[in-house]
């Protein structure tokens, strides 16, 4: 139980948080959800609904450009619209230093409508992850309170015992029963045994906990070669995690993005002026523009000429790995985010709030298993859109129908068996 409760709480909290972050509000239409996905895959690298990134903030675009067809044409092939000499877009083009927007011939009108719907109904996340913290603190306080209470009770008990023995001694004196020489409590065998026992239990507990913790690196927060702030990118600028960590969608490895991905945006963004001030863990301030310069020196990019003129000196960044699993553990990112539809934050914590990334979970086996025990699998008997793979579990479907089971967890389909992760 020691681990269990906080983890469940964290888990629920994270789900809440991530759904807040990603959805904004819950009563959301299906097409806007689709729009969100489309937005994140196609637009998010240059646009945010509410902030100017590489391109303008998109919220209100349907008011700014009331002609729906024109807007569709612009999104599909902007150069054509520019050629036609539309004054609004020409001005916009000039405003953004004549940086051409990508063309999206693949997007259908319906797709674009979905995106626009998402953009227009978008609300910046209001909740902050700090919200959950008080509950956790309360929990800590309670433990302390119980501890103090136990201590007081123990002291009272000892005092009462002492009083009791003194009184007994007095009455014995009175009745003339010869009394033993009183033994001071520190030489009393009962006390000594008791203390040793307590020390043994506590010591054992610490040793075991320490041994279990060997090789675990919860809260590990190394200094990275570039001060890369997830808060600025994923939090403030709302860049989808998958935009950079694309591999997580396909592969077991999420992978740190290659530098060409960084340069998609940073070819144009070469200073950090608009965002909040950045601080290191030690409190020193970070100059964001300097950090972007470091990226240029790694890639050999010259922002003035906008060319990779120093390509010969380019070298990959040696990031410090934070989340490490032992070699005998098989973990697959795509399994969790695609089949399991787990949010990144569930395991990585409120990453959009972290400047320097910190290991959020201890990545222990107990932590994995606890999640597998409670996470429900998308059988979808009530909604009818469950993953079709699970149709082979005929018995469970029957049980769900008859109400014998209310949901199927990962554990039910064998998610806590050894060879699901160790082979």
């Amino acid at each position: 139980m020691i681990h269990h409760r906080p983890i469940v709480k964290t888990f629920i909290f994270s789900i809440l948080l991530s759904s807040l972050v990603s959805m904004g509000n819950t009563g959301y239409a299906q097409d806007a959800t689709k729009g969100k996905t489309l937005f994140q895959t196609n637009c998010a690298s240059c646009h945010s609904p509410v902030k100017q990134v590489l391109g303008p903030a998109l919220k209100g675009v349907t008011e700014r450009v009331p002609d729906k067809k024109l807007l569709h044409d612009w999104i599909k092939n902007n150069s054509k619209v520019l050629q036609s000499g539309n004054p609004y877009f020409t001005a916009l083009y000039a405003q953004f230093n004549k940086a051409a927007m990508n063309t999206f011939p693949n997007l259908s009108d319906a797709d674009i409508d979905d995106i626009l719907k998402y953009v227009e109904t978008y609300q910046a996340p209001t909740a902050t992850p700090g919200e959950g913290t008080p509950t956790q603190k309360e929990e800590g306080d309670n433990t302390l309170l119980y501890g103090i209470l136990t201590l007081i009770l123990a002291i009272i008990m000892m005092v009462l015992l002492q009083v009791n023995s003194s009184l007994k001694k007095l009455s014995d004196d009175k009745e003339g029963i010869p009394a033993h020489e009183p033994i001071p409590f520190y030489r009393n065998k009962v006390y000594i045994t008791f203390v040793i026992l307590i020390l043994f239990i506590l010591g054992g507990y610490w040793v075991v906990q320490g041994a279990i913790g060997l090789g675990r690196t919860k809260n590990y927060q190394p200094v990275q070669p570039i001060f890369y702030s997830h808060k600025v990118h994923a939090g403030i600028n709302q860049i989808s995690c998958l935009y950079c960590h694309t591999n997580a969608w396909e592969s077991k490895h999420a992978t740190v993005p290659s530098l060409n991905v960084c340069m998609n945006c940073h070819a144009a963004i070469n200073d950090y002026t608009k965002g909040p001030k950045l601080y290191r863990e030690d409190g020193s301030e970070v100059n964001g523009t300097d950090e972007i310069q470091k990226l240029y020196s790694y890639t050999g990019y010259d922002p003035k000429t906008q060319r990779y003129s120093n390509a010969a000196s380019a070298k990959p960044v040696e990031w410090v790995k934070i989340h490490s699993l032992p070699d005998h553990v098989y973990f697959n990112h795509s399994q969790h985010i695609r089949a399991g539809k787990v949010q990144c934050q569930t395991c990585h914590g409120p990453i959009q709030e972290m400047d320097e990334v910190k290991q959020f979970a201890d990545l222990s086996m107990g932590w994995c298993i606890n999640c597998h025990r409670t996470t429900k699998v998308n059988f979808g008997d009530s909604t009818g859109n469950g993953n079709k793979f699970y149709s082979i579990y005929e018995k469970f479907h029957k049980d769900l129908k008859t109400g014998k089971m209310d949901s199927v967890t990962v554990e039910n389909i064998g998610g806590t068996e050894c060879q699901k992760c160790h082979y």
């Binding site: 060997l214 740190v256 290659s258 530098l259 795509s334 793979f389 469970f396």
Partner: protein
């Protein structure tokens, strides 16, 4: 006690004392308590207190070592990631295995830039996705530590690196200029590549008078010449085994080593598998001198001396009405020939006779036989001849004579090693020294390359561009799967360069195929699919037969005298062939299908031969069988052939002709200075066997693979250890391991096998209720998937492709000969070979092959005894093994009735973080091959999805759980049901050429495994079912197209005697 009906070993047959003792102990060693000597534990060398001390110290040390500091790990992404590459997801590239003349289209699995596994290319109409053990092992050759890593010039026998290709080109062009005037000879194996052939002709045109000689170590000259005489075609036809109802093989190991054996085994399997509704199968006769793997699968088998091979063919021809006179044969053989001839005649047009002989006269007679039985256009197809062997033996002889006569200016050698594998290797060696310039393109400093002047190593086929044409119009392509590991250059590139062309081979290749296939798209499609074949398969066609030379051939055969003394047969092992992949530890450790021996070659003799030649080797005698068998040391024998002699250990194989000794080629690799062998040829070949190629002889037209033995010597008390894997893994008297039935009996009474099962299980609820009533334990649900496997014993020929595929897929370690000798071999799947029949009568021997792997029992005995629950059962029916939980008690292996669990006695694959675990002084001596496998280069072949097991843990077949998980995930991601046979296939299943292994979800009634079980319900059985292990692997009983099943008959007799 009666003799056992089926036996893996002679000890088992006789049930000898030593054998009984060995079955009691799963592990050969006693507990490692040193110096106990019957004294109390406290008095032993390492008593209990020491144990506690060590325990305390090691716990403390491990804690300290682990807690000091967690190392900082770096993660380094690409600077600019290639677009289509996803780290952690495998890419597949179609390419072609092209080694030693064999051509097999494959697809290479490439993980994070390195090829780790080869699978057959299912787009090929010839091999249809089949692979052999050698193909499966080829990926390991890429990472061979002995490969030459740069071009060298050999000065005074010492290789000296040439720093750049330009410098090398300069050296060569100067040397070639110096040898100008004298012709240049290009010596290669058979080349089918259209581009290479064109480049060669362009190159030769620059050097007037020069020529190209093709040389095959396993020559098919006899057939090529015979086909030229009879059909006017110097080629090999395509054999259509799928059309053959009667097959007679005269010494051709067509399932293992002969011709396009993969193609044949696919066709052969068609008529060997049984349709229960309408049971029929082909009839296979084998006439041979040794028990080959093909012979072991034959229905009727007759042995003869190699000198009688022609006589047998002639007798068969005479019997079939071909106008030749039948020579005298002994009675048994005559009866066999008569029987085969009768069946052949009854199946005219649906029959096939093949001969493995390299004698053109015999092949002429065989061609006449095939003509008489109407094989042309039906079972023999001349529309698309096989082009993989074109070498003519006499051309090589001419070359040697030319070299000796100083008539060769420069000799360029590519892909062949005649100093080692030519019948007159010594002669070639002497002649080679006379060439003014000699250049080799071989991948290492092999026996030939170390004697030339320049060596420019060619890249491995997985690093190369190329093409092959196994049959006319059937192209398959070679594309690089990894950039060259070493400073190597393609042979074609060198020829282009030296003929003054500025183009590269890659460019040449692209140009050639783009224009030939018509467009860039067509070229890219061909590369992607790996093969380009005619849109419609050519109809099978015969060829006009000319019997003009038949009488001459028959007369020549008639003049051959039947030998009087012992005779030698030189053969190829399935694993090694002619030794092109000799330094491959996977192949060296693959047990031979018949002898079950690893790591060496040896002299194969019959039990009768052994009994008559040594007074203590009567294998029907318990004690003597033990002396021979329980100890790995084998008696040495010295065989004299002509003026040559060879000394090897004797291995007794039932089914060998009583007058014949067999020796395999492909072993005994050695550099001129033996101390260089490990560096030049490879660590693993050191000490592996003896070279038998010098025992071949030239008969005036072709190379003979047999010879009369001038004499044998039996050196007293001289022994050599042979590491065989057949001795352990016994079932301790439990029956129901192998089931067989004759075809006739099966037709008459198909329920017989099931009735037998029912009778056996009757006391425990019968077949239907056995699972519930046969146990006290509760049954557990398998709510979703339940994995199951079905193995058809009619389609398993014992070739071992599955064993090597398992090695590659599951990072199974190679342990080395010294460890195999201690029964520490690690194969997750083994192929058990059983004999039955009379030891003295080789014709009576029947063989059964049975692949044995973890049966994934639903009521597994191993699971109950694990003290730490490291092995347990999954809800999908898998018997899981958690390596990191295992503490190595080995209780599970002791309790496994199938003997499929393997224990890591040492750190074979370099998994441990403690370097001392590989220290030879602390873990005992391991063979150099283990260190070859542990090299950082070789470790690149490891599958990153499978844990590398460390020392002290148990392991076993996992049903390729990594593939199952991957397949399930794929289906989940695509939001669909699991596709049978598409999403999940085990490595052994995929490697099997005859589809003997079927795997899938048993809970899905439409899956192939469910259907296989349903459609073959009469043949279905589980191995030692009566112990209620409830295996998830079932077998289909072997049906023999023969009159009698030896094992079954003997069992019945024994039962009758008991009752009488």
């Amino acid at each position: 006690m009666s003799d056992k009906k089926y036996w893996q070993s002679f000890g088992e047959r006789n049930n000898s004392e030593a054998f009984q003792k060995s079955t009691e102990n799963e592990f050969k060693e006693d507990l490692p308590l040193e110096g106990l000597d019957g004294k109390g534990l406290l008095d032993a060398k390492a008593p209990r207190r020491d144990f506690l001390k060590y325990l305390g110290f090691s716990t403390a040390a491990a804690t300290l070592a682990a807690s000091c500091e967690i190392p900082v790990k770096k993660v380094v992404p690409y600077l600019n990631k290639p677009e289509n590459m996803v780290p952690g997801v495998a890419d597949w590239y179609a390419t072609t295995y092209n080694v030693g003349g064999d051509i097999v289209p494959v697809v290479a699995k490439v993980r994070d830039g390195r090829p780790i596994k080869l699978e057959g290319n299912e787009m090929s109409s010839i091999t249809k996705g089949a692979t052999s053990a050698r193909v499966q092992a080829a990926v390991l050759d890429l990472y061979d530590t002995a490969r030459l890593r740069f071009p060298v010039q050999i000065v005074d026998g010492k290789p000296q690196e040439v720093s750049t290709f330009e410098a090398f080109d300069k050296l060569v062009s100067d040397a070639l200029a110096g040898a100008a005037g004298a012709p240049l000879v290009l010596l290669t194996g058979t080349i089918t590549s259209p581009t290479t052939k064109q480049i060669i002709s362009e190159f030769l045109a620059k050097y007037p008078g020069s020529r190209h000689v093709q040389y095959d170590a396993d020559s098919y000259s006899g057939m090529l010449l015979a086909n030229e005489t009879t059909y006017g075609k110097k080629a090999l036809p395509s054999y259509r085994f799928e059309n053959a109802k009667v097959i007679v093989s005269l010494g051709a190991d067509f399932l293992g080593t002969w011709g396009a054996h993969l193609e044949y085994s696919i066709g052969y399997a068609k008529n060997r598998k049984i349709d229960e509704k309408n049971p029929s199968m082909s009839k296979h006769y084998q006439f041979e001198s040794l028990l080959s793997m093909t012979g072991a699968n034959a229905d009727d088998r007759y042995t003869h001396r190699p000198s009688e091979a022609g006589a047998v063919a002639l007798a068969l021809a005479a019997e079939l009405g071909v106008g030749v006179t039948a020579p005298a044969l002994d009675e048994k053989l005559k009866a066999g020939v008569k029987k085969a001839a009768k069946d052949l005649l009854e199946n005219k047009g649906k029959a096939l006779v093949v001969s493995g002989s390299n004698n053109p006269d015999i092949q002429v007679v065989v061609n006449a036989i095939n003509e008489a039985i109407g094989a042309g256009g039906s079972t023999i197809d001349w529309s698309t001849p096989l082009q993989t062997r074109q070498g003519i033996d006499s051309e090589m002889n001419t070359l040697v004579a030319d070299l000796n006569g100083g008539r060769v200016g420069a000799l360029l050698i590519y892909g062949v090693n005649p100093v080692y594998d030519y019948y007159d290797g010594a002669g070639f060696k002497a002649a080679l020294a006379k060439a003014k310039v000699s250049i080799s393109f071989n991948d290492r400093l092999d026996e030939t390359s170390e004697l030339v002047k320049f060596v420019l190593p060619a890249p491995h086929f997985l690093e190369s561009w190329g093409d092959t044409e196994a049959k006319p119009g059937h192209y398959s392509f070679i594309q690089p799967t990894i950039s060259p590991l070493f400073k190597t250059r393609a042979f074609e590139d060198s020829l282009l360069k030296w003929s003054g062309s500025a183009t590269t081979y890659e460019h040449y290749f692209t140009q050639y195929w783009t224009s030939k296939l018509g467009s860039v798209e067509a070229y890219e499609k061909a590369l992607q699919e790996g093969v380009a074949e005619p849109a419609t398969a050519a109809a099978a066609a015969g060829a006009a037969f000319s019997g003009a030379k038949l009488a001459e051939a028959a007369a020549a055969i008639g003049n051959t005298k039947k030998g009087a003394g012992f005779e030698l047969v030189i053969y190829q092992k399935i694993s090694m062939g002619t030794g092109a992949q000799a330094n491959n530890p996977w192949l060296l450790e693959l047990p031979d299908p018949v002898t079950k021996a690893t790591w060496d070659n040896y002299a194969v003799v019959s039990p009768k031969f052994a009994k008559e030649n040594w007074k203590d080797m009567d294998l029907a005698d318990r004690r003597q069988a033990d002396a021979y068998e329980v100890h790995p040391k084998k008696q040495l024998i010295k065989i004299k052939v002509g003026n040559k002699e060879i000394t090897l250990p004797v291995v007794v194989v039932p089914g060998t002709d009583n007058n014949v000794i067999g020796v395999a080629v492909g072993f005994g690799r050695s550099s001129a200075k033996p101390e260089n062998t490990a560096d030049f040829i490879g660590k693993s070949v050191v000490g592996a066997g003896w070279n038998a190629f010098p025992l071949l002889s030239f008969n005036g037209t072709t190379v003979e693979w047999s010879a009369p033995i001038a004499g044998i010597e039996k050196p007293k008390d001289s022994f050599y250890d042979i590491a065989q894997t057949q001795m352990h893994n016994t079932y301790e008297e439990r029956t129901q391991v192998v089931k067989e039935i004759t075809l006739d009996q099966f037709v008459k009474h198909p329920e017989e096998l099931q009735e037998e099962r029912e009778k056996e299980l009757k006391p425990f609820g019968g077949i239907e209720n056995f699972d519930k009533e046969g146990t006290l334990y509760p049954m557990y649900d398998k709510p979703g998937i339940k994995w199951g496997m079905s193995i058809d014993m009619n389609a398993c020929y014992g070739c071992g492709a599955c064993v090597v595929a398992c090695h590659a897929e599951n990072n199974v370690s190679v342990v080395g000969k010294s460890e195999v000798l201690r029964y520490h071999d690690m194969h997750w799947i083994r192929i058990d070979r059983y004999f039955s029949g009379d030891l003295d009568d080789p014709n009576s021997i029947q063989t059964v092959f049975q692949p044995m792997l973890c049966q994934h029992c639903d009521n597994a005995p191993c699971e109950n005894v694990c003290p730490v629950a490291a092995t347990n059962h999954s809800s999908e029916g898998l018997n899981q093994m958690a390596y990191n939980r295992c503490i190595g008690t080995r209780y599970c292996a002791n309790n496994c009735p199938y003997k499929v669990r393997r224990f890591n006695w040492a750190d074979y694959t370099g998994a441990d973080s403690f370097p001392n675990n590989q220290d030879q002084t602390t873990v005992g001596k391991l063979d150099p091959t283990v260190f070859q496998m542990n090299d950082d280069l070789t470790r690149m072949v490891l599958n990153p999805d499978v844990t590398v097991r460390s020392r002290g843990v148990m392991e076993k077949c996992s049903f390729c759980v990594q593939r199952l998980q991957e397949g399930k995930l794929k289906a989940k991601k695509e939001n669909r049901q699991l596709k049978d046979m598409e999403d999940v296939r085990t490595a052994c299943q995929q490697a099997c050429s005859s589809d003997a292994i079927v795997f899938g979800n048993v809970n899905d009634h439409a899956s192939l495994v469910s259907r296989t079980r349903k459609e073959n319900a009469q043949r279905l059985f589980y191995v030692i079912e009566e112990v209620h292990t409830l295996p998830n692997v079932n077998y289909l009983a072997k049906v023999r197209h023969t009159d009698v099943i030896r094992g079954v008959k003997e069992e019945l007799q024994a039962a009758e005697e008991k009752h009488a």
